[in-house]
């Protein structure tokens, strides 16, 4: 029994770290632009595909493919911002939602047409050879992916904390007018934020895609789970969102272990609903409330 619990917890931590990446990308776009990027799931999916093609067509190694995927996705993110978000400045929140929702639908179909719905597997350099750590079953692949995920989250946090652009982004989120008076170019920062959010989503897609599969609709659920994590973790808190991601991963893992896998996806929503009822401001009690 205990072995099962531990095993599922470890599995869950891994998936959770990747969910957290997705959520952080959503959070930063939401915090700066007050926009829910409904296409975030598709940027995640594109990340998986970019990584796959980088390896199979360009012949780069896995790590480089992740970086390339992040770069390409960042470009795609800026394109989404310029074409589907910026022209709608001043119109209702609902209109922007619909706009990114439309982009999401189009990207899904485009992927299906271009690359067929058949799932692909990203080839990784790790042997699938299992490692046994006490009662827990691991593979080197999984350990590396977890480390990569944590590294990316840390890198993101460090970027926000210490880089000048990161400070500008945080300033814009906290007090827009004051940030403008510092000479921050809000327009450019919006594009940069979308690029950043897209890069994070792409990283998540490339990482998870290596563990499981890459297919056109793979972004649908992670989008909503990501949003649930942002709510649970608290807007504006990298640490809170990361922890919330891990918790969700573990909860899903335990559900898969003890109940049926069919209900795994509902864990996110169940927790979201509970959090909504108790405290919509999230674990970190930070930042803007649900207002």
């Amino acid at each position: 029994m205990l072995e099962l619990v531990l095993q599922q917890v470890v599995n869950g931590l891994l998936v959770g770290a990747i969910y957290a990446l997705m959520a952080l990308g959503l959070m930063v776009i939401l915090g700066i632009l007050n926009v829910i990027n409904m296409a975030q799931g598709e940027l995640y999916m594109l990340g998986g595909y970019f990584s796959y093609f980088a390896i199979t067509l360009l012949g780069v190694d896995y790590f480089t493919s992740i970086l390339l995927a992040m770069v390409f996705a960042a470009v795609a993110g800026v394109a989404v911002e310029r074409l589907a978000v910026r022209p709608l400045l001043g119109r209702s929140v609902f209109t922007v939602f619909l706009s990114t929702f439309a982009v999401s639908m189009m990207l899904q179909d485009l992927a299906q047409i271009l690359w067929s719905p058949d799932p692909r597997e990203i080839p990784t350099p790790f042997a699938a050879k299992p490692m046994i750590l006490g009662p827990i079953f691991l593979t080197t692949q999984r350990i590396f992916i977890f480390l990569l995920a944590v590294t990316t989250v840390t890198g993101f946090w460090a970027f926000l904390r210490w880089s000048r652009s990161g400070m500008a982004i945080r300033a814009l989120a906290k007090d827009r007018d004051a940030a403008l008076l510092m000479g921050v170019n809000a327009d450019r920062m919006h594009a940069a934020t979308f690029a950043l959010g897209a890069a994070l989503a792409a990283a998540a897609g490339a990482l998870l895609g290596a563990m499981f599969n890459v297919y056109p609709t793979m972004g649908e659920l992670p989008l909503i789970k990501g949003f649930a994590i942002v709510i649970m973790g608290g807007m504006g808190s990298t640490g809170g969102v990361f922890v919330a991601g891990l918790i969700l991963g573990i909860a899903e893992g335990l559900t898969a272990g003890f109940f049926s896998t069919g209900y795994v996806d509902m864990v996110a929503f169940g927790t979201l609903i509970i959090v909504l009822l108790i405290n919509p401001r999230g674990i970190a009690h930070w930042g803007r409330s649900g207002a």
Binding site: R164, M167, R170, A171, L180, L181, M182, V184, A186
Partner: protein, 233 residues
């Protein structure tokens, strides 16, 4: 250096500025005073381009800025230190100051920081403290120092004495004099009319969106109409 001609601006349908014309010459301290709701802060926000200018023109050093975006105005050397200080509360003093120098090159940052610490030594001591943990007077100091980081040619201060005890108000007054001594032109918006007129060379009195009175501050201080405008007598 700064010239406003018949500027109209406001928020939504409210016409706050109904045609404001004023000018500030290099090296001056000019103050804009008036009762609440007269439009003083709105004037500064129009200049720093936080709100759109509906009519009229604003020129800074001869260049038209009425339609420019706010970050451009900062790059031209015009800094607006807003009402209520608006520090980034969860960031340290140092981070706030660095953000003030956002438009500067990375290589210049250390020098600028050092210069500001020379000017305001207490800030050097409190470098790593979170902005929200500072006292009101210290926060005002950070706000001013932050504005000076880019070594601007022109500084606009919005109600720097707001919420400060008299002793601190004196300190702020000293800071403003010191700014002018460094060759920076100052525009001061104040509700505390006595303080403002004491510091400034010239004054404009704003009333319901228009300039009601202007002149050397000595004259404005003695003017009965100003009293009346403030107290409705």
């Amino acid at each position: 250096m700064l010239e406003l001609t018949a500027v109209q601006a406001g928020y939504g349908p409210a016409p706050v500025l109904r045609g404001v014309s004023l000018s500030v010459k290099e090296g001056e301290i000019v103050t804009l005073i008036g009762s609440n709701g007269a439009g003083k802060s709105t004037t500064l926000r129009a200049i720093s381009r936080l709100i759109p200018v509906r009519a009229g023109t604003i020129r800074f050093r001869g260049e038209l800025i009425s339609n420019a975006s706010s970050h451009l105005v900062v790059r031209r050397g015009l800094v607006h230190i807003p009402e209520g200080r608006r520090l980034f509360a969860d960031m340290t003093v140092r981070e706030n100051l660095l953000l003030g120098a956002y438009t500067c090159r990375r290589s210049e940052l250390d020098a600028r920081l050092a210069r500001v610490y020379e000017w305001f030594p207490i800030l050097g001591e409190r470098e790593r403290q979170l902005a929200r943990s500072l006292s009101g007077g210290e926060q005002q100091m950070v706000a001013i120092a932050r504005g000076l980081m880019i070594q601007p040619a022109f500084v606009m201060l919005d109600e720097p004495s707001l919420g400060l005890a008299p002793k601190l108000v004196r300190q702020v007054a000293e800071m403003i004099r010191s700014i002018r001594a460094h060759g920076i032109t100052v525009m001061l918006v104040e509700q505390n009319a006595r303080l403002a007129l004491e510091l400034a060379d010239r004054a404009y009195v704003l009333q319901t969106g228009r300039i009601a009175l202007e002149g050397p501050s000595r004259e404005v201080l003695d003017n009965q109409e100003v009293r009346a405008a403030y107290l409705g007598l």
